[in-house]
Symmetry: none
Subunit: 381 residues, 2 copies
Amino acid sequence: MGAIDTIARLGRATWEDSRLALSDALPLDQIVMGDCIAAMKALPDKSVDMIFADPPYNLQLGGELFRPDGSHVDAVNDDWDKFDSYAAYDAFTRGWLAQAHRVLKDTGTIWVIGSYHNIFRVGAAVQDFGFWILNDIVWRKANPMPNFKGTRFTNAHETLIWASKGEGSKYTFNYRSMKTLNDELQMRSDWEFPICGGAERLKKGGVKVHPTQKPEALLYRVLLACTKPGDVVLDPFFGTGTTGAVAKRLGRRWIGIEREPEYCAAAVERIDAALPLDESALATMQSPKAAPKVAFGKLVETNMLAPGSVITDAKRRWSATVRADGSLMSACGQVGSIHKLGSTLQGAPACNGWIFWHYEGADGLKPIDELRQTYLLATQP
Amino acid sequence: MGAIDTIARLGRATWEDSRLALSDALPLDQIVMGDCIAAMKALPDKSVDMIFADPPYNLQLGGELFRPDGSHVDAVNDDWDKFDSYAAYDAFTRGWLAQAHRVLKDTGTIWVIGSYHNIFRVGAAVQDFGFWILNDIVWRKANPMPNFKGTRFTNAHETLIWASKGEGSKYTFNYRSMKTLNDELQMRSDWEFPICGGAERLKKGGVKVHPTQKPEALLYRVLLACTKPGDVVLDPFFGTGTTGAVAKRLGRRWIGIEREPEYCAAAVERIDAALPLDESALATMQSPKAAPKVAFGKLVETNMLAPGSVITDAKRRWSATVRADGSLMSACGQVGSIHKLGSTLQGAPACNGWIFWHYEGADGLKPIDELRQTYLLATQP
DNA sequence: CTTCCAGGTGAATCGCAGG
DNA sequence: TCCTGCGATTCACCTGGAA
């Protein structure tokens, strides 16, 4: 039996892919079940626009760990995270990075996520292959696991590396979308998100399906920042398909590679249930003139107000659609921030969008400011 | 002329250093002016308690950079940051890390700070030398320089690596000091500080003396977390002496190595002006681990808890009788110390008996730890 | 229906002295 | 070097049941 045992096919997305000359050679919107290096070898040269990789971290955990209350910590203890030595891990890393460099378009970028256990080795290898690091990004966890023994600092972040194919390569960076998403300030290299939990966390019989499922908000920001609608995103360590679910939501094509059948099954079910946003929600802000002015984007990113939602004023005289980067589009095509569009529609010199715009709550229209309060309550100390 | 041209001697500190057998062989509280690898070779094996290293970042900056208003950005453009290739930088890194590993005590730790340009290569080398990474720390800059061209995320952080000499090595971590410093919550791996500016930033004729002077607050936290008063801190890339100034302030000994005479001169002047904290200020930062231990038997002996008393857990699921020698006996005849019996009854691997067991106080159940506190208050000066 | 509280848990390289 | 025993050690968030 070969390394690639099965192709798990999902229903083809409905949008056109005629722009992609290579599309027939690519298993678009599908999971390739098998070894990631072998599966990548089957892909053509320079065929994908972005790679998002969440490789094993090589944690090298020791014995059991208990909390102060005596309960047991369910740590990562899977075969796929076991390597005999740094050399073995480096060989594995170079194996998949070589294929990643080959299949990435010259205008593409690669993202890799890791922790201090592996990220330095991976980062050095990324540079050695000629990738050009554009940023390292810190995912600050809002709710990390404490250090129970009091022996170190709370390990409260993970690191992502973002790199272009080489020095001087062109690449996609949706600067305006990121600025919009960040309250009209440049998006920084430190991002804060909660770890994946609640309804988003995939479970089977009450047990988590994957030990290290990533939050969708993280992938949302990555894909929104560095791809265009229709771009092809490859995830060689697909797991339970966070990349695929977000790519589908954002109108990007995706290819997943995953070895474990149970992860594949969970991913198929999950992505089938994901709803793509419509086109008006996807259009992201390109003009620097149309500038949303608040952290409204945070509500969109965390799905408190999904892209594509329609919001109105208190008397339903005007309505607008929420777009992926936190900008609004009115019924007649005008575009702007919640404040700007509110003032434009009313013909007023200024408008507080937080009070002007309302969403359809469980019991009637409510100002979006309530969502902001909820968000603040949930995230502030 | 040798690699080490000059020793810049500062006034000896006034405290005793008789505890340090090696002190006569070490240039304590001095700057060694010269090449860092050559200078480290002159230090004895296993002679320093901590190393803080801020090596050249190998920034590989391109042409000139201008702000949107046309003003010029004064970037790092010094000879000491120029390397021909990754290989050359790696060779340099391995050269100084080899010496660092040799001169570090087995109970010491090393800190290295860097950016995405160099930190991955340095981190991989740190692991290859056998150092054991304990944490990576993110310094989030409160006021980073924006990305003027809008082509990337604002590079708003730097990364520090903290490592012990090897897997399983003992090391100093002042857990309680860090928790106190962080409002009684565990100190996390993401630290926020402003970049170095204002009166702290060394200038000569209005021009900054060093392009990458680190904030003293950063070193303060590092030294407070991982050294004890009197410990020896080596900084092989001393620059303008931030490490020395903070070490002096915190009652730590220091050794600086620096190649550039003008940096040395600025550092001498700066450290001479730094005022050490007095002993009482330093003492408040000590760990309560040094607090005297109280045997449970002491409470029995002094009749604070009479033999024959019955104690229970917080929910009264288990109970035990206190015996004359300070051991406990459970209702079903099991016998052991407060810790041992607590773990046995719960089926847990360990148990802190002081918190687990409760006695019947005037107003309800109270942990026996309160009796210990009372005992300490009554017996300590 | 809302609020409160107890319980569970997350990519974790998680102790140390003394015999 | 191994074994034993003391005793130090947790934060934010989610869920479900009780009040």
